[in-house]
């Protein structure tokens, strides 16, 4: 999964179009600094206190406006409090120092997002983020709908598809007022690449995947995911689970 990241980011084909009459499209041009510039931001003195490893990353991401894709295993060692101080460093230096507090994690800096993920803790074949989607197409929808549609495309590979009743599926998606509509058209993209795409053009700048600490697998051989905040498990029918977060928002 890690090695494929760069390839995916350069093959992204993002289409922002057809803004509905109720909402203006969200455009990257609203962000004046590139990711690389933000990561190079000098920090003379900084003290970080956070409840655990992902919260520390979320704080840095939110404070310095860094898009992040975070995958982590909810092991006890990652749940200990973080209390770190720095002098004369950079934002990138802070992120790398946080990641170094955990064994088996790595930082990858892409064109538009920083990935923090376990290197060997989750084998690639058990990692749903490596799954490829033939056609991820979203037309003028909010990011949450795009996320649900991605889930509908990925879910059947994680657990056996549910029997579709004759009438199909009903559902709702409540969103915050004035969240912008987005459009995405990606071919043969990994699930991770699809989440990156959502992050890139929506207000949800951080995606968070929490793997279960017990190494348990779904019937199709993928590592189960849980909720970040409380670690609650979910039925296989609802797997996999990820959380999309705006900057400044805590995992729910």
């Amino acid at each position: 999964m890690r090695n494929s990241f760069l390839t995916i980011t350069v093959t992204l084909a993002l289409v922002v179009a057809h803004a509905s009459w109720t909402r203006a499209p969200y455009r990257e041009s609203q962000q004046p600094l590139t990711l690389a510039e933000r990561l190079r931001t000098p920090v003379q003195s900084y003290t970080l206190k956070a409840g655990n490893f992902p919260q520390a990353l979320l704080k840095i991401g939110s404070q310095f406006k860094i898009p992040m894709g975070i995958a982590w295993v909810r092991m006890p060692s990652a749940l200990t409090k973080v209390d770190l101080s720095w002098k004369h460093t950079t934002v990138q230096g802070i992120i790398q120092a946080i990641v170094r507090t955990q064994r088996g994690y790595d930082v990858e800096i892409g064109e538009s997002i920083v990935h923090i993920a376990p290197v060997n803790l989750v084998p690639d074949k058990e990692d749903f983020l490596s799954l490829r989607v033939t056609n991820f197409s979203v037309r003028n929808e909010v990011a949450e709908i795009a996320s649900k549609q991605l889930h509908a495309l990925v879910g059947p590979s994680i657990a056996r598809p549910k029997r579709i009743l004759a009438g199909g599926i009903l559902g709702t998606q409540l969103t915050e007022a004035h969240d912008p509509n987005i459009s995405i058209d990606l071919k043969n993209v990994s699930c991770e690449g699809a989440l990156d795409a959502i992050s890139r053009i929506s207000p949800f700048k951080i995606w968070l995947v929490t793997f279960a600490p017990d190494n348990s697998l779904t019937p199709t051989g993928f590592r189960r995911t849980v909720w970040a905040a409380r670690g609650e498990a979910f039925p296989d029918a609802d797997q996999p689970v990820w959380e999309l977060l705006k900057w400044g928002r805590a995992p729910y």
Partner: protein, 773 residues
């Protein structure tokens, strides 16, 4: 005892100061007046030369305003010669007012030589004069080219003979009495006086001068300066009033020490060594203890210059509860012989202090009776071209606990207000900054025990943070006044320092508008009414309108000390002014306090006695709204319908309706109260009649599904979005054809914070209805 009710106007207040005017190119004399009056005051400025000849000018000072009078131009305007007979002299200002509604100070500067000294005006009301019967001053650092001069002025219309004494080398020496004609000013040269006694100044580098006017009515005032034109060294010689010294402890506030830290108002000005000079006025030895007080270094200050940290907020920094504790360094006690003057340099203790420090304050305690010791405290930059004098106040002088000071800002000049709590108890301070007729209230100023606070006027101005009235210091203001007064009966001192860095000049303005603290008055609770959402909170503020002895108004935040109560706790509860909505309805939330309604000054012991306690109260009408129902915002609903798709794609099938929800209260009205934006929303669906449809996937708004909250917040208009109520199939599962079906019914439970609202959904393959709409 307080002299009179505030409505009474006393006539004949008169202030005097002595100073050199613009006699030669270089020295500039400015009279700076600040009003503590709520009304304009007409002034008569009387300029007298050394021989008592007078020039009169008329001025008007506006309420709480600063008035600057340049003496040279005024003398020229009045037809006299500021380089001739009016090169030196004294100034009096006459006006009609209350207790001390106008404060004045003469500042004499010579930018070319980096020399400056200041002279406070002294109240000379015919009914209550502050002119001291004995004038005690001290000199230090003489020899090596330094001069020390004392100007003495006879403020009366009668001749006065003065007895003069010089103390040096531990002895008390009488010199020839000096005769003053009416309104005459004489310049006494210490070096010459010593020479007259056969003493070389190098043999008496430190010493004291005492001047006692003969006769029952004190009439002489004095001021002095020590200067060294070669280095730019200049320091002021004060003559404190012994009648106001009711404690055996002295205090000097806000001095630079060492190389000041980056967050110091003295940052970049050099490296300083404080000099404490003490003079024993008794003929017997005394023990002296000197304490250096300093702000404890904090992470915030050590992180100065961080590009990732916001600059300190000059307003929130006023909150004493967030101040670092004050550190103290005690210099071992030492004995000073009778009639001796000793110069104690703090250079020997600098290594024991946690330098760098932003500033320090100096406390001097002595073993003799009240007023038996005087002191001078200055911080001298190592190149001696900048000397920062700090007015030394006796801790028993209640007048020191208030001030009306002028400030000035330009590209080379900063103004810093130093306030020192000299007691072991916290103290509130009432204060306001005035510029261009705008009054900016500092309502939350509170000092911890022994704390010295530095308030940077530029930072306060540039923050442009509105006060409780919504006022801001005009951003272009370069001149104004700051008035402050203690709110509790504990000793406080303060001064406003104006540093002109380019010229190496530091001027200190202090003193005094009232002998006691402000009187507590009416209390108001703001906002007067508030609407909040149940389960959310709002903070009320209790503000007291306080008055000083001149009826000048201050506003003081009393939210913390007030007692709070709710008339109906089933609607709202309150603690410390923080109101929490409990249930729908309206109620009153009240605050009350008891504090001194009028202080009385006792001049015999300098104490302040509360004449009566004032019980005041106020309330706010609180309305609590409960999220009860939802409405679809008109014009926001749209429906899309798609019937074909590409296999495996995420879109292309079904009927989707999106719209904006409006949260309504128990009365069916839209909730727009600010608390609504703190509530999260999420939902869950229960199918009540499947008819072939399945709710298996999109059960709730959350990912992961089925539970909440989901990290989504209602906006400030009480709205959130239904991104898509979807029917039939939203995913194309096979054959490029969408699955269709009939209809079903479901209940959608939408949670708004702790409140649950049930909507009825009806799904058709070509229609989605919400509550039948």
């Amino acid at each position: 005892v307080r002299p009179a009710p505030r409505s009474w106007l006393a006539q004949g207040f008169r202030n005097h100061a002595v100073a050199a005017t613009n006699g030669t190119p270089g020295p500039q004399s400015q009279l700076l007046l600040v009003s503590d009056s709520p009304n304009p005051i007409d002034l008569t400025v009387v300029i007298r030369n050394l021989y008592g000849q007078s020039l009169l000018d008329s001025e008007t000072i506006q309420p709480q305003a600063k008035l600057t009078i340049d003496l040279a131009s005024t003398i020229i305007k009045l037809g006299a010669d500021p380089t001739g007979t009016f090169a030196e002299g004294s100034v009096a200002v006459d006006y009609i007012g209350t207790i001390m509604p106008v404060v004045g100070q003469m500042t004499v500067t010579n930018p070319a030589l980096s020399l400056t000294h200041e002279v406070d005006m002294i109240e000379n009301d015919p009914g209550r004069s502050d002119i001291p019967p004995v004038l005690n001053g001290l000199w230090w650092g003489l020899g090596g080219g330094r001069d020390a001069q004392v100007m003495v002025s006879n403020t009366s219309m009668n001749p006065v003979i003065a007895d003069v004494y010089l103390d040096y080398q531990g002895s008390h020496h009488a010199v020839q009495p000096i005769t003053f004609v009416p309104n005459e000013t004489k310049v006494l040269d210490i070096n010459q006086m010593l020479a007259g006694l056969g003493v070389d100044p190098a043999q008496a580098p430190s010493g004291g001068i005492t001047i006692i006017g003969q006769g029952p009515q004190p009439a002489l005032i004095a001021s002095g300066k020590i200067t060294d034109p070669a280095t730019g060294f200049s320091s002021t010689i004060d003559f404190p009033d012994p009648q106001l010294e009711f404690a055996s402890a002295l205090h000097a506030s806000g001095l630079p020490i060492g190389t000041p830290s980056k967050d110091s108002p003295y940052a970049g000005d050099g490296t300083f060594v404080p000099e404490v000079v003490v003079r024993n006025l008794l003929g017997t030895p005394q023990t002296v203890t000197i304490t250096v007080e300093y702000p404890q270094p904090s992470d915030a200050s050590s992180a100065a210059g961080s590009s990732a940290s916001a600059p300190p907020d000059p307003i929130s920094a006023e909150d004493g509860t967030h101040s670092p504790p004050t550190g103290e360094y005690l210099i071992p006690a030492f004995t000073i012989p009778g009639y001796a003057t000793e110069d104690v340099s703090l250079s020997s203790v600098m290594n024991d202090l946690p330098l760098p420090l932003p500033f320090c304050s100096i406390r001097i305690q002595y073993s003799g009776a009240h007023g038996s010791m005087e002191a001078s405290v200055s911080s001298v930059e190592q190149n001696q071209d900048l000397t920062v004098d700090a007015k030394v106040e006796n801790e028993g002088n209640g007048w020191a606990g208030s001030g009306a000071n002028p400030w000035h800002l330009d590209k080379n000049t900063e103004s810093i207000l130093f306030l020192t709590n000299m007691s072991d108890k916290p103290v509130r301070i009432g204060s306001k900054v005035t510029a261009h007729g705008v009054h900016y209230y500092l309502t939350d100023l509170q000092l911890n025990p022994h704390e010295t606070r530095a308030i940077d006027i530029r930072a306060l101005r540039d923050a442009q943070k509105p006060d409780l009235n919504g006022s801001k210091i005009p951003p272009a203001a370069t001149d104004g006044s700051v008035i402050w007064i203690r709110g509790d009966n504990v000793p406080v001192e303060g001064r406003l320092l104006v540093i002109a860095r380019r010229h190496g000049l530091a001027s200190s303005y202090d003193c005094c508008i009232c002998a006691c603290g402000y009187d507590y008055g009416a209390l108001s609770v703001t906002p007067a009414s508030a609407t909040i959402v149940a389960s959310t909170t709002t903070q009320l503020t209790a503000t007291v309108t306080a008055h000083d002895c001149n009826n000048n108004v201050f506003q003081v935040n009393m939210t913390g000390p007030s007692r709070w109560s709710s008339a109906n706790t089933s609607v709202a509860t309150v603690s410390g002014g923080k109101v929490t909505g409990a249930g729908g309805g309206s109620t009153y939330v009240s605050a009350s306090y008891t504090a001194c309604g009028q202080w009385l000054y006792e001049p015999t012991n300098g104490g302040c006695v509360c004449e009566y306690n004032d019980v005041a109260g106020g309330s706010s009408n609180i309305t609590v709204l409960v999220p009860t129902s939802l409405a679809i915002v008109a014009g926001t609903s749209s429906t899309t319908s798609e019937s074909t798709c590409s296999t495996g794609s995420g879109t292309g099938c079904g009927v989707t309706r999106s719209f904006m929800y409006q949260v309504l209260d128990q009365n069916g009205k839209a909730i727009t109260a600010s608390g609504i934006a703190s509530l999260q929303f999420w939902d869950a669906i229960q199918v009540t009649s499947p008819n072939g449809l399945d709710a298996g996937s999109f059960k709730t708004t959350c990912s992961p599904p089925n539970t909440g909250p989901c990290g989504f917040y209602v906006n400030s208009q009480g709205q959130f979005h239904e991104g898509g109520v979807s029917s039939c199939s939203t995913v194309c599962y096979s054959s490029g054809t969408c699955i269709t079906a009939g209809y079903t019914n479901a209940n959608q439970t939408i949670h708004i914070g702790p409140y649950a609202i049930v909507q009825h959904l009806a799904y058709y393959c070509n229609k989605v209805s919400v509550n039948g709409q």
